[in-house]
């Protein structure tokens, strides 16, 4: 199974709810746990001030992105790294292909990277006859299953322990009642050989500090450190929006991102990579390539409303809190970025028409704004895309009722704040038309008519 694009979102989500109730259980449990940990971790710090700071750093970065891209390139080249520029996904793959050919690469280990999913790197490498192993345990599980990731932080959260037991039994002969430790040990042994044999390691980049040319990577397993330390060549794919001005900013962002993603003060491992190994270093890659990828990001940057989505640090907090995501999991969204963040960047990265109906895959409940560590106004951007879709004749007019009311309230922040609770129910008073996704499901499931109860209550009654 691979992604086919967001176009079939309605059918896929309905199918998911009907056919895979156990999947919903796994997703709901995992996202609740993530969110509890995040809440706890933010309780320990001055989270509001911290989020203001992070928003302002990224806004500064984006409004000066040309300058910082040039600075990052200069710093990386000074460090001895090769810098590439990829305007499209095809360009990024062509750059990788050239590196593979020039170095006669046969085996690749891969660290978890959402950008690499966006670029569909694995399929391309396989078509070149190169073997590629995902090394993050969750990514490895779904690679064995032949599935795409369903969450930007926990790619396999839609799979239960029993699913993994069956999978590992088939692949490694572990007992069907094996404990998670034993399963992880089997994966460790299999992947250790790949780490030691690989010619090339691929990673993404959580941040790229322009002043020092540092690619920063956050993880818990150690597979990213291994993928970027053992093979002779390291290639990092970095979206152009991942830059931050300084290494000092990285210090703030790695902590903020981890607290927001998993609730830890910092990831178990943070890699700060400047370039290839130096003379006084006994090991490490001889070549480091950094591929700066646009692939539609400048489209988002040019949009006067949606550009703010480029502040995203991919923490997954908006997925974890989202009542829509919790019901369906990530696969229904039809492309690698699911949940609220996926819905607001899809029109920029895929084009608005191809992104439909994702801007409608939300009830505009606003829960995501409250958790986003870089304060992206997600509902505002959703409404913006819905309006654009109407202007371009991509959506029936009936589905837009209620949006204007939301926009009007959102434009007056004081009213918005004071009337927060009331606003969350507002769409329901409009006969459920502002919840087109929900009404779609309800028809499929012939559930009772929506009543003006809380959103979560409604959700439960309608779907369970």
């Amino acid at each position: 199974m691979s992604f086919t694009g967001p176009g079939r979102y309605r059918e896929e989500s309905a199918k998911m709810l009907r056919d895979k109730p156990e999947m919903r259980h796994s997703v709901t449990q995992a996202t609740r746990t993530f969110d509890d940990h995040r809440t706890h971790a933010f309780g320990q710090v001055d989270g509001e001030r911290w989020r203001d700071w992070a928003r302002d750093v990224k806004t500064h970065l984006l409004s000066n992105l040309d300058i910082y891209l040039e600075q990052a390139e200069e710093s990386l080249e000074r460090n001895g790294a090769h810098v590439h520029w990829a305007e499209t996904g095809a360009d990024a793959l062509a750059i990788l292909e050239k590196i593979v050919e020039d170095n006669d690469v046969k085996r690749v280990v891969k660290a978890k990277s959402m950008l690499s999913e966006e670029l569909a790197i694995n399929a391309h490498l396989e078509s070149l006859g190169v073997s590629v192993f995902e090394t993050d345990l969750g990514e490895y599980i779904i690679q064995l299953l032949g599935e795409p990731p369903s969450h930007i932080v926990g790619p396999a959260i839609h799979r239960s322990l029993d699913d993994c037991r069956r999978l590992f039994h088939e692949h490694f002969g572990t007992p069907l009642d094996a404990e998670p430790d034993a399963l992880a040990a089997a994966a460790r042994i299999a992947l250790r050989q790949e780490f030691l044999a690989a010619d090339l390691g691929i990673s993404g980049g959580n941040f790229l500090a322009a002043d020092t040319g540092t690619v920063a990577l956050i993880e818990n397993e150690g597979n990213i450190r291994l993928s970027t330390s053992l093979p002779r060549i390291h290639v990092a794919f970095v979206g152009i929006e991942k830059l931050v001005p300084t290494l000092g900013d990285v210090a703030g962002f790695v902590q903020l991102t981890t607290r927001s993603a998993t609730g830890q003060p910092i990831g178990n491992y943070v890699s700060l990579i400047q370039g290839p190994r130096r003379e006084d270093e006994p090991d490490g890659p001889e070549e480091v390539h950094v591929v700066l990828v646009d692939n539609g990001r400048t489209n988002l940057l040019a949009d006067d409303t949606a550009w703010e989505a480029l502040r995203c640090v991919r923490c997954g907090a908006c997925l974890n809190i989202c009542p829509v995501y919790r019901q369906t999991g990530g696969h229904a969204y039809g492309w690698p970025y699911s949940g609220p963040i996926g819905a607001i960047i899809a029109p920029g990265l895929l084009g608005l028409e191809k992104a439909m109906p994702l801007p409608h895959a939300s009830s505009l409940c606003g829960a995501c704004v409250d958790v986003c560590p870089v304060r992206i106004p997600i509902p505002e951007i959703l409404v913006h895309w819905r309006e654009r879709a109407v202007e371009e004749g991509l959506v029936p007019l009936a589905e837009t009722v209620g949006l204007k009311a939301y926009t009007a309230a959102a434009e007056r922040p004081v009213v918005f704040g004071a009337a927060g609770a009331a606003l969350r129910y507002a769409p329901l008073e409009l006969g459920g038309r502002a919840l087109p996704i929900l009404s779609g499901w309800m028809q499929e499931r012939s559930a009772p008519k929506p009543s003006p109860k809380s959103f979560m209550q409604l959700w439960k009654e309608g779907l369970e």
Binding site: A30, W53, W85, T88, A90, L161, G222, N223, L247
Partner: protein, 226 residues
């Protein structure tokens, strides 16, 4: 295409694909699109140094490091004499048949004042690795590992013993970054606990790829009583 037209030009496949080696062209086009996109907006200022992530009263940095490092599953052995610390390390690794030493430890094992004969095994085959940290971070409970000491010994053995001097515990991560920035090596690793994952049914397992045990040997070289 003028970027003022907005996002509808998004798909990558409708644009002609530039030649493989058209690096200068791709660079110029991306920078051009970025400039087109932002010229109409104000260049916003940087908010400056955050100045501290916590509201709470400052904690003793070494205590804070120990608290957070242990909370993440790390183990700490604290010594007020280098002598006793090295004795502990020698005893500890004595229990293992194969030991991998970082560059600094290896130099000591071969040329140290005390003739300590420890055979060095390649990290891929060793049961325990011994490294020296550049320093530690109190705020995050992290050990700062640098590549001059050897990355493989920091990552491959299932047990990792790290020597760290108390005077090198930085209160905040940004302090450590500032110190490192003066002469950054090719890659720095912050290790804040044993390798772990919850990817199998959301149940925590340790030692997935990196070491499953991480032991910080904290040495107060001033010999101060505590």
């Amino acid at each position: 295409m003028s970027m003022a037209e907005g996002p509808e030009g998004g798909g990558s496949e409708d644009r002609p694909r530039p030649h493989h080696n058209d690096r200068a062209g791709a660079r110029a086009r991306i920078l051009g699109k970025v400039r087109d996109a932002i010229t109409k907006r104000r260049r916003e200022p940087h908010p400056g140094h955050f100045g501290g992530w916590r509201d709470q009263a400052p904690e003793d940095p070494v205590e804070q490091f120990i608290r957070l490092f242990k909370a993440a599953g790390g183990e700490v052995c604290r010594f007020d004499l280098r002598e006793s610390a090295s004795e502990w390390v020698r005893n500890f690794i004595g229990d293992y048949a194969t030991v991998s030493l970082g560059t600094i430890a290896r130099r000591e094992a071969q040329h140290g004042a005390r003739a300590v004969r420890i055979e060095h095994t390649d990290p891929a085959d060793a049961e325990v690795g011994v490294s020296m940290a550049y320093g530690a971070v109190a705020e995050t409970g992290s050990l700062i590992m640098i590549p001059q000491d050897g990355r493989r010994a920091q990552l491959l053995p299932p047990v990792h013993v790290v020597w760290v001097e108390e005077r090198t515990v930085f209160p905040m991560l940004i302090d450590a970054m500032a110190a490192l920035a003066k002469e950054l090596p090719s890659a720095v690793g912050l290790h804040s606990g044993p390798s772990k994952s919850a990817d199998i049914g959301q149940i925590l397992v340790k030692g997935v790829h990196g070491p499953g045990r991480l032991i910080a040997v904290l040495v107060d070289d001033k010999g101060v009583q505590w």
